[in-house]
């Protein structure tokens, strides 16, 4: 992060079971919300992609099939940035383990973290409140004034 977030204004939180078949619903909902916030189509697609990748990683790596739970996607803003938090309630993950791979090695998988860092301006993995769960905090500059 380039600095602490001040003047943060909460917009909307989405909470849903960490299941792949919920993502289409979540994407449509986020598209709707991002549209209202004034992002253009291409930016909205990119924001939705980053959030989807973050949620997928929670489903595939934070939760297990036996121990699953909810995901919370929260959107807020400052004068200059859209702030996205993807929160899970899984055991705390070691952030140093979350790493992108060498992309010149062509093989299936291993793209999510790379996408997220490319699409967002700041990306930070944090432990959840009270040490429970994980928060992926991402921000992106707003192209337009809200």
């Amino acid at each position: 992060m380039s600095g602490p977030i001040t003047d943060e204004e909460r917009l909307l939180e989405l909470r849903f079971p960490a299941r792949p078949d919920r993502m289409a619903l979540v994407r449509k909902s986020i598209r709707g919300a991002a549209l209202d916030y004034g992002f253009d189509d291409f930016a909205i697609q990119e924001i939705v992609l980053a959030i989807s990748e973050a949620c997928q990683n929670v489903m595939r790596h934070s939760y297990t099939e036996r121990e699953t739970g909810d995901i919370v996607v929260s959107l807020s803003r400052t004068a200059e940035r859209l702030i996205i938090r993807v929160t899970d309630f899984a055991p705390t993950v070691d952030p140093t383990k979350i790493r992108s791979r060498d992309l010149s090695d062509i093989r299936p998988g291993g793209l999510g973290v790379h996408f997220i860092t490319e699409l967002m301006e700041t990306v930070e993995y944090l432990p959840g409140p009270g040490g429970v769960g994980n928060i992926l905090l991402m921000t992106r500059k707003t192209e337009v004034s809200p």
Partner: protein, 114 residues
Amino acid sequence: MTEQVRDEGGKCVVELGGEIDLDRAPEVRSLLLDCITRGRDVLVDLSRVSYIDSSGIASLVEALQSASKNGITLGLVAISPMALRVFELARLDKVFTIYPDLDAAMTTATADQG
């Protein structure tokens, strides 16, 4: 549901549609791998795909590598600007052969073999 497989010009044309994500990637994967076992070159028509993410890309990469192992080609057809952006992000826009439309894919692919 939103997928279609047909034979056209001696090739297996797979038309995908909708959103190819973690939920739908497994079915796309098996559909493509299934096509490849038929031994004909594969063209994947993405014109009706409104969303694709890393899971969808993974299915396509696996299919590409399986095709190449089986000595056949796999090309992508009619990618939307947003889907192309995802391939670019993945540094795979040069790895896949991408045709603007099915006509171009049929002509070029045949010329390649001639």
